[in-house]
Subunit: 542 residues, 2 copies
């Protein structure tokens, strides 16, 4: 049986930008477009050229993508021709292969929000789409509020879609703009549209998650015959977000009946990069990745219940609906049971540590559990995890000892009354009996105050004697803080990422009721991991 | 038309506890049970008595709830009688009105995970349920992996449900244990179960969100005839979580066809407390509330797109599928446009500030926008927002000035070689020309190091001269840190919550590249807000 082609349309760069707190820069838009293109979506909607400077800049230097790069805009206003609407002209001037225009299809919106006649709105849709087609572009029509519109006035909502269809739109996209439609309605109404004469392979679906049904509504429309699915990476988007392509893509590729019925532009190899793509977007936005996200979340294949974890050992299919590696994710089994031990053994082997005895594994697990109870977390801080395992196994060289440090943060006024901020750090390190005293100020390259963590880092790495050459290429690239208990009993967890000239990136963790101390601990681990990894020799040792 | 009764079964305290990183204490379980009871769910599943010390303690001192308090366990093991199964006995000994037992219904699991015959498993189900009923309790049967089981061997899966039904189970709960079922399947299979003779008003649905369809699957089962819905607050639960009751309850109460067809135990008044209930759970878990959560998220009614925001002004129904106040949420319109100005005017009125001129509003908006670009965020920090508005309007009294402060964090060894941590803070404040010098150490009541923020707070509030009486009852109750840019250009945002003896709670924000400085700024705002709110007089002022 030949499989139907299902088209994926990404709007992360347009509707995704409507997320509260999200404002992509032009370089970020380029990064995301490249990632979407690698993933294999069919359309990349880049934004609304002319609506704001970022979008205009982005379209002026449009990315070269295999996917159809698309500009978004709206149908022309009433009372002027399509040729003379400068908003529409701004969209067309971007010169993209495809143009997607949103237009109203709900009679209430036409009269209330636009304040024009129903006939004028139909005319705006037809003329705008025809204008795009006349320019030799592919036209798409986003039927705004279509499901509410259909429920209120099915004839008018259908007439709007037909107007676009007859004017030559390649796709008519049924939009649940306020996110209020439920799956049974989406199914029923999509079928009605197809029955009214618009073929399913010209129909798209665009949903929002206001009732938690954005994914289900998309699937319901596909079940009903629609052949284009719109969504965003990580479900970004206005209010509760758009349909999450990071969830929909694996469902469409891996699960029946979709797997057998459809093909998309996403390859199995690209699917294995899904977790990475999802994390990249979170990195750009400095958002904490949602652990519980379907398929790509860090917890998506974490088996905590004892019964589940032991069954997983016998056969992963007992509690996993798809294999985690198909989306580039990994299984997590608690280290506290048998399944965990084999997992730990594998992690240690990956670090190049000889696989220890069972008793050693038990001791490492005990140490990690105790520290996790204190607020440490080794999910991301792999480098600190490796150091803890080495410490427990007696495989950690005594490179140096920190005798003391002192960090001072001061705010005062200078002689002219201008405010002065100063961070100063002193560190005393003992290397093979020799004391090294370093001092540093937290002033950044641009003259601004880099704060005490920056000063700590500089002081610690200023003079490590025989190790100085090895740590010279370390760069602090990220710094994350989390309070692990609320209120006054708060403990602070600091996770710090470093990179070196080999392109390695490693994360370390520190925990204390004192944020400076937690930071210092993480910095120290970062240096120690670098020394261990590069095979540093302790002076005087055999 | 009489409405059908739909039963809500909450498993936050049992399946919700399987969330990675979640471990409720006994007092926390009591808090959550009380909140669930106020909300009006019909069943509260408290945990598995006998499985771990926390659950055993909780059942030993069980909460008095209007809802049916329920113990969870599993069907008896093969080769022993229900009376002699000590795991089952542990569950029954908790003495709850209802007992929910999970049992296998997927042939593959019976033979692979349990390693017993299909007949033995049927016998375990029947005998266990009969034993619960014989003890005068209400029995529920969780049909584990039911949908996968039905797809593999429909006769056997149905036989398991029938065994429980015939043994007297009040509810047979169809569980999608690994979260892999899709809505169309759930619909089809639930209908098949009813057609096979188990009435819908004896059927429950228990779903997981591994494909992002937990809510849709629950609705599909209800559409098919099931009359009990299981889920958790905020969608807690193993892997990607359980069906989110915080999403399902408003959909069932507010949206058609459910609103007209069903009644539940949740009143409209209780529904208006939904946002509060959701936040309380996040507070207990120290999780950042998900802004994009349907209905209850801070962004759920935030209208960022310019077109949307201006239409909302004309009629909120244009872009809102339900009114935000029905669930205790609020509309957010960007302050940068017309809609925002009327919103700001309302916020200022709430603060008791005379409604300023249009030009003043513009200046306040400009100031807020500039600060937000610098990393400030006023979504939660209402107290700092109020102070900024006062500053712009010239309504901020000059209570005192901080001349300087210095914070020192030190780590060294004492004479015996034991590590010593010390945080010391000096603050110099000028009040009406008089200098007040205070010093404080960051040592907490229990002797542990409270860190520099704690020391800053103590030093700042140690001697504020004429204001000392007013600030004496302030207590720092929460402290949150967020890095607003990644990497080395990181700026740190600190949000601090205080409470006073009147039970008021207020949040303030500080931003700096230096975490100590950001904390100090937030602490300073907290004191100033308290002074403004309590009408403190500046010494010597008229």
């Amino acid at each position: 049986m030949t499989r139907d082609r299902l088209t994926l349309y990404d709007t992360t760069l347009r509707d995704g930008q409507q997320t509260q707190g999200v404002q992509f820069s032009t370089p970020e838009k380029h990064l995301i477009a490249a990632a979407l293109d690698r993933l294999g979506v069919d359309y990349i909607e880049g934004g609304w050229p002319g609506a704001n400077p970022t979008d205009s800049d982005f379209f002026a230097d449009a990315p070269q993508t295999r996917a159809t790069f698309t500009a978004f805009g709206m149908t022309k206003r009433a009372g002027r021709s399509a040729e003379n609407d400068e908003v529409l002209a701004g969209v067309l001037n971007a010169g993209t292969r495809a143009v997607c225009l949103v237009g109203k299809t709900h009679d209430f919106h036409v009269t209330t929000a636009l304040g024009i006649t129903l006939g004028d709105n139909l005319d705006n849709i037809a003329k705008s789409v025809a204008h795009v087609v006349a320019q030799g572009r592919e036209a798409l029509f986003d039927a705004e509020h279509f499901f509410d519109g259909y429920k209120a006035n099915p004839d008018y909502a259908l007439a709007c879609c037909k107007a676009a269809h007859e004017a030559g739109a390649r796709w008519i996209v049924l939009c649940d703009t306020n996110g209020g439609a439920l799956p049974a309605e989406v199914s029923r109404i999509t079928r009605a549209v197809i029955a009214a004469g618009i073929p399913g392979d010209r129909l798209g679906i665009h949903t929002h998650d206001d009732t938690g049904n954005a994914v289900a509504n998309s699937l319901a429309a596909v079940d009903a015959g629609a052949r284009q699915v719109q969504g965003t990476l990580n479900g970004l988007g206005e209010r509760c977000g758009n349909a999450n392509l990071t969830t929909l893509i694996p469902t469409l590729l891996l699960k029946e009946p979709y797997r057998s019925r459809f093909e998309t532009g996403v390859s199995e190899a690209a699917l294995r990069g899904l977790v990475k793509t999802s994390r990249m977007l979170d990195d750009i936005l400095n958002r904490v990745p949602l652990r519980s996200a379907p398929y790509v979340g860090a917890s998506a294949f974490a088996h905590k219940a004892g019964l589940h974890a032991s069954a997983i050992l016998k056969d992963p299919a007992t509690y996993e609906h798809v294999p985690p590696e198909t989306v580039g994710n990994a299984r997590i089994v608690p280290m506290s049971n048998q399944a965990g031990q084999s997992n730990l053994r594998e992690r240690l082997r990956d670090m190049g540590l000889a696989v220890p005895e069972k008793a050693d594994l038990g001791r490492i697990l005990e140490r990690i559990k105790t520290r996790e109870a204190d607020g440490y977390s080794y999910d991301t801080a792999q480098a600190s995890f490796e150091l803890e395992a080495r410490r427990e196994l007696g495989l950690m060289p005594g490179f140096f000892e920190v005798e003391r440090y002192r960090a001072t943060v001061e705010r005062r006024r200078d002689a002219r009354g201008n405010p002065v901020h100063l961070s100063e750090v002193t560190v005393v390190v003992n290397i093979a009996g020799e004391r090294h005293l370093s001092v540093s100020e937290g002033i950044m390259a641009d003259g601004s105050d880099g704060g005490p963590v920056h000063a700590l880092s500089k002081a610690l790495m200023k003079d490590l004697g025989p190790y100085q050459d090895l740590i010279g290429d370390m760069e602090l690239v990220d710094f994350k803080v989390r309070i692990t208990n609320g209120g006054t009993e708060a403990r602070t967890r600091v996770v710090i990422d470093h990179e070196d000239s080999l392109g390695r990136r490693w994360s370390t963790v520190g925990v204390s009721s004192n944020i400076i101390d937690a930071s210092f601990e993480a910095l120290l681990d970062a240096v120690l991991w670098k020394l261990v990894s590069d095979g540093a020799r302790v002076p005087g040792a055999a």
